[in-house]
Structure formats: structure tokens, C-alpha cells
């Protein structure tokens, strides 16, 4: 298994402009109340990582309960909305409409350069590394035009499919096959070489169904590229319930490294790469501390975030990456 460390520089605000992001968070809190707390039926579940039922109630966000698995340390919402209710939420909630129509568009350029293009470079290079003749690529749940543009551009795959029940694009214009069904209705078997799951594991209610389904879709030896946040990351460990990036339903499952490894193993995948190439951990702590004067940080952390030394911050972030301690993870797994 390999681990990648990336020395890149960008600012979290480029990706989440403060005032718009605050609006998004407020709308999310309201939308959750309308869609889940008052409306839909919530279901109890075991740890999505290791399936252990032994957990500690950790904290509540927007009326939903985060629990910490006693066995693998994964943080997860339970009881939780079903995937059908989540599809409705992602399609219709004012929060997601704001995301699609404003936030996503306003940050399109920065996201494209700093996130989306590097992700496709990663997919293409790793595919070349592991597969001889890849043909069919599929993405699950992508909802941004910038992703669709990159998928369209990719030259190493001859067939491209988007599986997303709430995507509104014209397939004829893109040359991409679009499947708008729910996961359990998609009928594909041993046909896809490469699948990408960008932050999908984070907001999927039935994680076992997701993994079971795309395992069926992949050819033997096929690859899946997963990106996700992880709970063992620095900013989550420091900020915990105060973290501004930790709220439902976008973060229904916040796996630990162990939780992900258990999930992969359970579904017949071999992990080829597990990296935490995040670069915003320290900045996230710094920003949250600035927004919350009452937040008491341990003295060492306070000293670290208040240091004006760019070099120190970079060196610390690199240390986090090298030791799988950043909160953004990327993984390559292979169907056995």
C-alpha cells in the first residue's frame, strides 16, 4: 500500500467563501429539520466501518446524533435518513440548491484547478499504473459541471458513465452515458474498469449497499478511487464537535483509517493506496478558533496556529500527510 504526500498551497476560503458557506450551513440546518427531523423516518445503524454496535453518543448537530464507534473510532450519524430520503434532500433542499446554483458556480475555477484536475490526473496516472487496457470509467454521484467537463476530456477511457439520480445534464452534449436510477436499480455486471467515489462514502446511508453494488459493476481487478474526510484527521481531533466542516447530511459517515480498511476488506477489496494529502487542517483550526473566541485550544496547538511562520505551518501539514493524520483522505482500492 502506498501513501502520497502533496505539497500544494491554497486557501480554504477559495473553495468555501465565508459568507456563502455560512448561508449554506444555515440553510442545511433548516433543511435538515424540514426533510429529516420532522419529516422522514430515521433508522438506527451499526458502525458503517467495522459494523460494531458498541458506540458512545458523541454530540448532536442540527438535531441529528453523532456516535463514535468504540471499536474502530468511526464517527457516524445514527439514527439516520434513508438513501431515498437523502436523494430527495440532495435534489430539492434549499441548501443543496444554493450549493449547486451559487456556491459551486462561484468556486468553480478554484475547485477545477485545485481539486478536480489533480483528482483526474491521479485517476489517470494510477489507472495507467495498475491496468493495461482500461476502457470503461464510471463516477457515482458527481453533481458539478466541472467534473463532467473533466470526465469528458479524459482520453484513456473510451466509455464513460455517470451514475447519479439527481444530475441534470444532457448526455447527448457530453457523450457521457448517464444513469439516473437509485443504486439498487442499476443493472451492470463486471463491466466497469474504474469507478470514482468523490465524498460519496461520507453521505451514503446504506454504505454496504453502495459497496456491494459497485463491487458487482467492477470487472475483477477493477479499481475504485475514493475520496473522503476521515475522523482521525488533525482538525477534527482538535475541534471535534466545533468543527465547521462536520455536519450532516454531507458527513453522515466520518470513517477512521481502521474503519475504511474494515469496510474495504468486508467487501472484497484490496487497498492499494491510502493517503491523507489534505492541506487545510491547520488552517481549519485557525479559522474556527478565530470565529469562536470561547474555544479553548491546548497551549501547544494555540501556539502552532498563532505562529505567523508559513514554513512551520507547511512543515506541520506535511508531517500530518506523511503520517496519515490529515483529515482529507484519498484511497485506491482494487476488486479481488
Amino acid at each position: 500500500m502506498k501513501n502520497v504526500v502533496i505539497f500544494d498551497r491554497y486557501n480554504g476560503v477559495d473553495l468555501k467563501p465565508s459568507s456563502l458557506f455560512n448561508d449554506y450551513v444555515k440553510l442545511t440546518a433548516e433543511s435538515i429539520k424540514t426533510f429529516f427531523v420532522k419529516g422522514a423516518k430515521l433508522q438506527k445503524c451499526a458502525c458503517p466501518g467495522c459494523e460494531n454496535k458498541d458506540m458512545v453518543s458523541s454530540f448532536e448537530k442540527f438535531g441529528l446524533q453523532y456516535n463514535e464507534c468504540k471499536s474502530c473510532g468511526t464517527l457516524y450519524i445514527s439514527p439516520r435518513p434513508t438513501d431515498i430520503d437523502l436523494v430527495r434532500y440532495y435534489k430539492e433542499s434549499p441548501a443543496r440548491i444554493l450549493w449547486r446554483n451559487e456556491l459551486s458556480k462561484k468556486t468553480d475555477k478554484a475547485r477545477k484547478e485545485k481539486i478536480i484536475k489533480p483528482r483526474f490526473a491521479w485517476i489517470e496516472e494510477s489507472t495507467r499504473e495498475y491496468l493495461d487496457n482500461p476502457q470503461h470509467y464510471a463516477d457515482i454521484d458527481t453533481d458539478q459541471q466541472a467534473y463532467v467537463d473533466e470526465i469528458k476530456k479524459s482520453k484513456i477511457f473510451t466509455q464513460k458513465t455517470l451514475i447519479n439520480p439527481f444530475l441534470e445534464i444532457d448526455p447527448k452534449k457530453t457523450g457521457i452515458n448517464v444513469i439516473g436510477s437509485l443504486l439498487d436499480k442499476v443493472q451492470i455486471k463486471n463491466d466497469i474498469d474504474v469507478i470514482s467515489l468523490f465524498e460519496v462514502a461520507d453521505h451514503t446511508s446504506d454504505i454496504n449497499l453502495l459497496f456491494r453494488k459497485f463491487n458487482q459493476w467492477l470487472k475483477p481487478g477493477g479499481l475504485c478511487f475514493v475520496t473522503s474526510i476521515i475522523i482521525s484527521g488533525f482538525d477534527f481531533q482538535v475541534l471535534w464537535d466545533k468543527s465547521e466542516n462536520l455536519f450532516p447530511p454531507d458527513r453522515l459517515n466520518v470513517f477512521s483509517v481502521q474503519g475504511f480498511n474494515d469496510l474495504f476488506k468486508r467487501h472484497g477489496f484490496e487497498c492499494l493506496e491510502f493517503s491523507t494529502p489534505g492541506i487545510l487542517d491547520l488552517e481549519n483550526v485557525k479559522r474556527t478558533a478565530a470565529h469562536n473566541p470561547e474555544l479553548i485550544l491546548p497551549r501547544f496547538i494555540k501556539n502552532l496556529v498563532s505562529s505567523g511562520e508559513d514554513k512551520l505551518g507547511q512543515a506541520f501539514q506535511e508531517f500530518l500527510q506523511a503520517n496519515l493524520l490529515s483529515s482529507y483522505a484519498r484511497m485506491v482500492i482494487r476488486k479481488k
Binding site: M1, V5, F7, A121, R128
Partner: protein, 340 residues
């Protein structure tokens, strides 16, 4: 699944590694081992021990792994192919160009028999990933390569056959540097111009313990390599300079871990019009923790055997190219024949 019987010829360091690969492969069955040295024979348990090499040739064996000192390898490869066996031979493929040319003649006379050489570094994870990145074209074309590969000798080094020129044909350059040169050729075009300095000033064997090579090819790619048996800190470093950036493989996964953790460092060059053009670009480092090179190269060999495909990676053609460079280097090295 079609199981192929394999025999191992020579049970030194490499023979033991090959035995493990054969025994762990679901496609191979170990038919037995032939080892000429009676002391080494005592280490062989749990499988058939051939008394004579000829017995291997007569046996129902599909593949032979030749893991012997350099002077014996060519004759064994030739005899194996003549007897209708596929042959996997460790590097170096012989002592000199003539040895390899003789093997190639036999290969041509035995069409259908597959022959591959153990340039396993091509299958190291850092090399595989570097090749994927370079082939993607995002860093442009290779301008230059620079390699350092060296070790410190080790236990019983002075008694090793590797330092007996009659058996080995050369020193550290032929024994270890050949891997680095093979990688140069894997990434670049063939190098026609070769300059070299060698010395044996520390170990005083009749072979070189240090070699410095400078090379250039018709496409203007330049290369330099330092191969050494006096690098007290074991070192593997391959730097590739490309038009749009660089890729460096540093450290090498090995049995003893003495070369450090294998990692690939990739950086994109900063352009002249960028404000932050300070010659210290952002980098991406990939750390690897699993060496599958021994298995992958045998898998590639089996793929050629199964599908009757020509061997294209670590082929006799590759072996000949690298041996020609080494021969040129030895010739260029001042008074090589006289000194050693």
C-alpha cells in the same frame, strides 16, 4: 488452470528468492533444484534435488530459472532453450556482449521458447508509477537522467564470486549498476556515446569498485550514473529531469530495507512568468511499502508463455543494449584491461 513445472538452477541468494516466488505462484509448481555446490545443497530441503543439470533438461519441466554466477548463465540458458524449456535468467545476462549474443542466437534458433532476464527494478512500485506519470505526458519529454546506486560490500564480500573477474566479467557496474542503466534505457532512448571512469582503490579486487558514467544519445538526452561498492550508506536514487518538471525515485524496497523506504517525488517546474518562481516547486511524494517486483516480473513472463507473446519487457534485446553500454564503459575506462 494450467500449472507449469519450474526448476531452479543455482541456489544462492537469487535462487532462494526465486524458490519463494515459484512456491507462492498459483501457476507454478516447483519441480526441483539443481545446485553444483555441495555446501549449498545442504540448504535445500522439501523438494527434489537434481544431481546433474542434464537431469533437469530430461525432466518434465516447462520453465527453468537460471540463478547462477555470470560465467555459467549463457551455457545454461542455451542448453535450456535447446531442450525446449522457457528460460528466466537472472541479470547480468553474462559477462560480456559476446555471451548475450550467443544466447540470442540460441533464442532465434528456438522460436517459441520464451527468454526473459531478471531486471526486476522495472517492476518496482516507484518505477511503475514514474513510468505511468511520464507516459501520461504531463511532465513533457525527458531531458536528462542521473542515477546513484551503491552498496558497502557486506559480509564475505571479499570472498564473493562477484569480485572474481573470470566468473563475473566485471565489478559493481556489471553487478549492480546494470539495474540503473537498464532503468535509464527503460525511460530514455539508447545511449550511443558512453564515457566512463572506474577505480578499485578501496577493495583492490581485479574488478572496479567505483564507476562513473556520462552518456548521451542521438535525441540529445544526457545521463550520468555513479555505481559504487563503497557507499557505506546504501543508496538508490534515480532523478529524471523533464521539460515540465521532474520525477525522482529515492530509496528502494529490499529484503534488508537498507536502501530506505522507496518513494517517488514529482514536482512541476515553475514557469518564468510565475511570481513565485523560486526554484522550489510544490512536490508530490508517494511512499511505497510493498515490493511486488519479483512476482510481477514472473507474472509478465508467464503471460508471454501462456499467450505465446514475444517478451517485450526485460527481453534479450534489452539485455544486449545494456551490456553494450557496459562494454563501451569498460573500454572507455582508462586502461581497464591493464588495471584489472
Amino acid at each position: 488452470m494450467n500449472i507449469i513445472k519450474a526448476a531452479i538452477i543455482g541456489y544462492g541468494y537469487m535462487g532462494e528468492i526465486r524458490r519463494k516466488v515459484v512456491e507462492e505462484s498459483p501457476r507454478l509448481e516447483l519441480a526441483g533444484i539443481f545446485e553444483a555446490n555441495t555446501d549449498k545443497c545442504k540448504k535445500i530441503t522439501g523438494c527434489k534435488l537434481y544431481n546433474k543439470f542434464e537431469d533437469v533438461l530430461k525432466d518434465d519441466v516447462g520453465i527453468i530459472f537460471v540463478c547462477t554466477p555470470n560465467s555459467f548463465s549463457p551455457a545454461l540458458c542455451i542448453a535450456g532453450m535447446n531442450a525446449g524449456k522457457h528460460v528466466f535468467c537472472e541479470k547480468p545476462p553474462g559477462r560480456n556482449v559476446e555471451d548475450v549474443e550467443n544466447i540470442i542466437k540460441s533464442e532465434q534458433q528456438n522460436q517459441g521458447m520464451k527468454l526473459m532476464f531478471g531486471f526486476n527494478h522495472r517492476f518496482h512500485p516507484g518505477v511503475i508509477k514514474a513510468r505511468a506519470i511520464i507516459n501520461s505526458g504531463r511532465l513533457g519529454k525527458i531531458i536528462a537522467v542521473r542515477g546513484v546506486y551503491g552498496k558497502s560490500g557486506g559480509k564475505n564480500f571479499s570472498q564473493s564470486w562477484r569480485n572474481d573477474r573470470n566468473i563475473s566479467g566485471g565489478g559493481i557496474l556489471l553487478d549492480q549498476g546494470i539495474h540503473m542503466l537498464d532503468l535509464f534505457l527503460y525511460f530514455c532512448d539508447d545511449f550511443e556515446s558512453v564515457k566512463c571512469f572506474t577505480s578499485n582503490s578501496f577493495w583492490k579486487f581485479f574488478t572496479e569498485d567505483n564507476a562513473h558514467l556520462i552518456m548521451k544519445n542521438k535525441n540529445g538526452q544526457t545521463a550520468s550514473m555513479y555505481s559504487s561498492a563503497t557507499l557505506w550508506k546504501h543508496t538508490f536514487k534515480l532523478e529524471m529531469i523533464l521539460e515540465e518538471g521532474y520525477a525522482t525515485i529515492e530509496g528502494l524496497l529490499s529484503k534488508t530495507s537498507s536502501y530506505g523506504q522507496e518513494r517517488l517525488i514529482v514536482g512541476k517546474r515553475q514557469f518564468e512568468d510565475e511570481a513565485s518562481a523560486v526554484g522550489n516547486p510544490e512536490e508530490e511524494i508517494t511512499y511505497f511499502d510493498r515490493d511486488l517486483s519479483w512476482d510481477l516480473e514472473v507474472k509478465e513472463f508467464l503471460n508471454c508463455v501462456d499467450n505465446d507473446k514475444p517478451v517485450q519487457v526485460s527481453s534479450s534485446h534489452d539485455a544486449l543494449k545494456v551490456m553494450k553500454i557496459i562494454e563501451k564503459a569498460y573500454i572507455d575506462s582508462q586502461n581497464y584491461e591493464e588495471v584489472y
